[in-house]
């Protein structure tokens, strides 16, 4: 009985402290979640944080009721870890979504850059970016539009270029943007040299990303080779069990 009362008191205090705890926990992960939302172009971080706290902490009611029948330290640990896991799960899935998006951008950005290089043959950087927007991958369009606007306002500023997708913190993209800046702002002779370098580097980058993606897929399917070995282990175990059973029967 005492155990039950202590549990209920603790859980009710916890529930009463919810507004304070929710804010505290949200603050702890606010920076990373905000960064993820920026990459995925989602809105309303606070609502998402509040919802995940509320959903995960609904489990406390199950704990509150089941503590009437189930006792023991292990059960408390199990309930606490379940609440913790259900609180963390949305963050983990959000992070994996961000990783996927970042990987896709890393793969498709050199593809876009190649398209831009072809347009650069007959256009300035600003015009080439403008022309490339309708044909660019959908998740780049919004960023490209703001890059175009920045370049229209301040074409000679390096910051106008490097601000493009800076939240992704990908050095390759930043390098490509600096190339574009140099290409646009240096003299004719140097520009063509820069351009050739940019083409060569993009080819290398494009190929690396393609080969990396293919290697990754091969590595995953390589594990299929383990299945027959697991099967033969199963046969071995069954044979050993069979021998043991026979020996026991004879005794």
């Amino acid at each position: 009985m005492e155990n039950l009362i202590v549990h209920w008191i603790i859980l009710f205090i916890w529930m009463a402290l919810d507004p304070f705890l929710e804010t505290l926990f949200s603050k702890l992960s606010h920076k990373s979640v905000e960064h993820f939302f920026l990459i995925l172009e989602k809105d309303n971080v606070d609502l998402w944080q509040r919802r995940r706290y509320e959903k995960s902490h609904r489990l406390r009611w199950v704990w509150l009721i089941s503590v009437v029948w189930v006792k023991g330290f292990q059960f408390d640990v199990l309930c606490l870890s379940m609440i913790f896991m259900s609180y963390m799960m949305p963050w983990i899935s959000l992070r994996s979504e961000v990783n996927k998006q970042a990987e896709l951008i890393r793969y498709q950005f050199p593809i876009y850059l190649r398209q831009l290089q072809i347009l650069l043959q007959n256009n300035t950087v600003v015009k080439a970016i403008e022309l490339s927007i309708p044909q660019a991958p959908s998740y780049l369009r919004k960023e490209l539009k703001s890059l175009h606007e920045r370049l229209m306002a301040e074409p000679g500023r390096l910051g106008s270029y490097t601000a493009f997708m800076s939240h992704l913190e990908q050095s390759e993209i930043q390098r490509a943007m600096k190339w574009l800046y140099r290409f646009e702002n240096t003299g004719q002779r140097d520009a063509s040299r820069q351009f050739n370098r940019m083409i060569a580097s993009t080819s290398k980058w494009l190929r690396q990303e393609r080969q990396y993606a293919k290697q990754k897929r091969l590595m995953i399917s390589q594990w299929l080779g383990m299945i027959p070995l697991i099967g033969v282990t199963l046969v071995f175990i069954s044979a050993m069990m069979s021998v043991l059973m026979t020996m026991f029967e004879r005794r």
């Binding site: 043959q121 099967g231 046969v235 044979a239 059973m245």
Partner: protein, 249 residues
């Protein structure tokens, strides 16, 4: 129709019966009970059909890929000397067949009917949305519509991209095939190990729980069949990378 059906039956049937026979022989060697033997043989028959279908699919993808690369290289070479889409396509269409030929014929028909170049290019790109093809098509359309002299370097870039694309894809497919062979070899080794363990066990005379061993052997053989089926499925996947098809709508 009947001849086609027979051809289909002979092509897929031969491999299925062959596969079923191999697994029947292996199961008999391992001393599997008759009911389990029937399950394994039926599974192997299905696997044979699956292997035959996936092999045909792989062959088709391979042919289509080579044909597509050849066609675009030819178009590019022709366009360099005479920058007209209609001319480049009509001169190179003989290199194609199947879906690519149909898509090209549709584009040529559209051009003959006077439909807008951009619209017909868009419907072609929906069928072939790879970025290299997209870059080539967009450049060709731009040159034809607006006219320019500085497109040589762009065509060179695209030509390099096509070559690198083909090189990487072929290399990857070869590696996939090697991997499939490695997995088949591993399965064979595990079968040999299982055979020796079973024959040694029989010699000791200690094995009486036949049911348990039979179930374990059934699971083992089915695992091998499923693994080979999955590997074949992976091998028969498209040669064109979906993540590079950025103009898919």
């Amino acid at each position: 129709m009947r001849a086609k059906g027979w051809a289909w039956f002979i092509r897929h049937g031969a491999l299925s019966f062959g596969c079923a026979f191999i697994f029947y022989a292996l199961s008999s060697l391992l001393g599997l009970g008759s009911f389990y033997l029937f399950i394994v043989t039926s599974g192997a028959f299905g696997l044979g059909i699956w292997i035959s279908i996936t092999e045909a699919k792989t062959k088709k993808h391979e042919e289509e890929f080579y044909m597509m690369v050849d066609f675009f290289q030819q178009v590019l070479a022709l366009f360099k000397h005479h920058p007209k889409i209609y001319f480049s396509f009509t001169e190179s269409i003989n290199l194609t067949k199947g879906d690519l030929k149909e898509a090209l014929e549709k584009w040529i028909d559209d051009l003959q009917e006077g439909r807008s170049l951009n619209d017909s290019a868009r419907s072609f790109l929906n069928a072939y949305p790879h970025f290299v093809i997209g870059n080539l098509i967009h450049l060709m359309v731009a040159v034809e519509l607006f006219g320019t002299h500085d497109y040589g370097l762009s065509l060179d870039i695209i030509q390099d991209d096509i070559e690198e694309w083909a090189e990487d894809t072929i290399l990857y497919k070869q590696m996939e095939k090697q991997q499939r062979n490695r997995i088949v070899l591993l399965s064979l080794f595990s079968l040999i190990i299982a055979y020796f363990s079973q024959s040694m066990l029989k010699k000791t005379g200690l094995q009486t729980q036949m049911e348990l061993t039979d179930v374990a052997l059934l699971i083992f053989l089915m695992m091998i069949e499923i693994t080979i089926g999955v590997v074949q499925h992976l091998l028969s996947s498209q040669w064109i990378e979906r993540s590079e098809e950025i103009w898919r709508t």
